[in-house]
Amino acid sequence: MDTANIGDLPAATDARALQVTRPSSDYLDVSESLPLRLASGKELAPYRIAYKTYGTLNADKSNAILVPHALTGDQYVASHHPVTGKPGWWETMVGPGKPIDTDRFFVICPNVLGGCMGSTGPASVNPSTGKPWGVDFPVITIGDMVDAQVPLIDHLGIEALFCVIGGSMGGMQVLQWAARYTERVFAAVPIAAAAWHSSQNIAFHEVGRQAVMADPDWAGGRYLELGKEPRNGLSVARMAAHITYLSEEALQRKFGRSLQDLDAKSFSFNADFQVESYLRHQGSTFVDRFDANSYLYITRAMDYFDLAADYGDVLANAFRGTRTRFCVVSFTSDWLYPTRESREIVQALNAVAANVSFVEIESDKGHDAFLLDEPELFATVRGFINAAARKRGLPASAGPRLAGSA
């Protein structure tokens, strides 16, 4: 696909805009002859899936681990981000000697359909108009995201993935993969996820979307054509969402009522409190790396997620006959995807006598715990993956590479 002329953007977003058209990672262009049939009934073709791989695919292509990312993640799971320059978003989990050991496994991380790091999304050019899709991009679902990844797995010559593992929206994709392509998934690890998006979660997403759309620079979704960007709106959306990723306890522990670089309250609406300053920072750094319309589309996809709905409203039916080995993980302080929602997945799997492990990890870090340094999470994932690898006939682990590293 040619580089599109998308006008003169503010400097901060140039690097990001470039990623939309020329991703720093590998990518697969799926041709017009293989249209993606979306849940909405529309078709999308051609489309691109940008992805990163780590490690080496073995001769019989049995050691591939797919790592779908969460809402604001991308394919840079274990390598520095081309826009922010920051380390990969799950380097604690994925890498040489890590629980998802790239010395043993071939790790694939695709940018989701609808994303803005090289996979086709609302910031991409609509081939029929030559302009960015904007809100003309079709509304997509988690199922569509997963369907769009299938040609990539085919392209890599992989018949069955050894494991699909992800947290939050990544966990939704794990469940969707396991339900829709059960024969192609040997093991599945949904972490801090749910089989459906709760009313409260939809509500938070709606607040975020309204913040974006209320920004005049959103311009009816056509901001890219106009050389604008709804920075304030997207920033507020991120600030609100970020609170839901933490816990009251973690916020209190981290910030309390401490003031930011002040001895006394300023009696103004400046960011007096550390927590305000922190959130504003989270908001402003987010807009440097993320497209506002992508945020709308991906949050919508999560809202629409209800796995049971596709299976006669009985979640167990989604997994009937499955031979996939599951490991479901939740965190005690995650109020966005609470343990009881993971337990529903476990109950559904038990109802079909599937092979399932379920671990609830004690943490006060809220939903974000899945991305953080949680030794119990690493031990669980390492143990589960090693046991599954033995069942799959893959070589044994050499164990952690560094003493003391989980």
């Binding site: 479901v328 109802a351 399932v356 492990s357 671990v359 609830e360 990890i361 143990g383 589960f384």
Partner: protein
């Protein structure tokens, strides 16, 4: 729950249970603890094993060592499983700590073709002697906790358990009483003697009853 004692590598009741389990079968271990029985069965019988354990720490340790275990408890979570989901549903030294032993036993018989239950025998002579001679709730090497801290809220004797089996329509396929060192009592010994001399017992059961009235009794 029970005295840790001087453990051999495997617990005596685990070895007895392992003798009863067929190669390559599907097993659910309810109250699987640290997963040692599941590990034994995986190592010696190549079973497809699952566990349920109430303690989060133990569950996480089991999963970290590669066992398929979920956090849950016998009283509430067995209802999730379909009929005949497993060849063996095992409850080892756990039934005495459940809130509703009768329902738990019925669930085991429903989800497993065989139910295997081991339990500490409250009819053992030492227990009887403690109560008789001290007039206080028995505390033995086998049942080390005082009445106010013990998780064992539903202790029974071998005779009691045999009666419960009858009450829920379970057929006793095998029953073994044994002492601390795992030594079995001979089958020629009458039940009354088992009840007096066995510190623990293992029963292997099948169901006689059928749901919806259309099952036939196991032959």
């Amino acid at each position: 729950m029970l005295a840790p004692g001087k453990q051999p590598i495997y617990r005596a009741d685990h070895l007895l249970i392992a003798e009863m389990v067929a190669q390559d079968s599907r097993v659910l271990d309810v109250g699987c603890g640290d997963g040692s029985l599941l590990q034994l069965l995986a190592d010696t019988k190549a079973v497809d094993g699952r566990g349920i354990e109430v303690s989060r720490e133990r569950v996480n340790a089991c999963v970290a060592r590669g066992l398929s275990v979920i956090q849950g408890d016998a009283d509430s979570d067995l209802a999730d499983y379909p009929d005949d989901a497993f060849d063996y549903a095992i409850l080892s030294l756990t039934i005495q700590a459940t809130l509703r032993p009768k329902e738990v036993l019925e669930q085991l018989l429903r989800i497993g073709r065989y139910a295997i239950v081991s339990f500490p025998n409250f009819g053992h002579w030492q227990v009887r002697a403690r109560l008789l001679f001290t007039g206080r709730m028995p505390v033995t090497a086998n049942l080390p906790e005082s009445w106010y801290v013990t998780p064992n809220v539903h202790l029974c004797t071998i005779k009691d358990f045999a009666e419960l089996c009858e009450a829920v329509g379970a057929r006793v396929e095998r029953s073994v009483a044994f002492n601390a060192s795992g030594q079995k009592l001979g089958t020629w010994v009458p039940l009354t003697a088992h009840n007096l001399l066995g510190e623990k017992a293992v029963f292997m059961l099948t169901r006689k009853w059928v749901e919806a009235g259309n099952w036939v009794a196991r032959q």
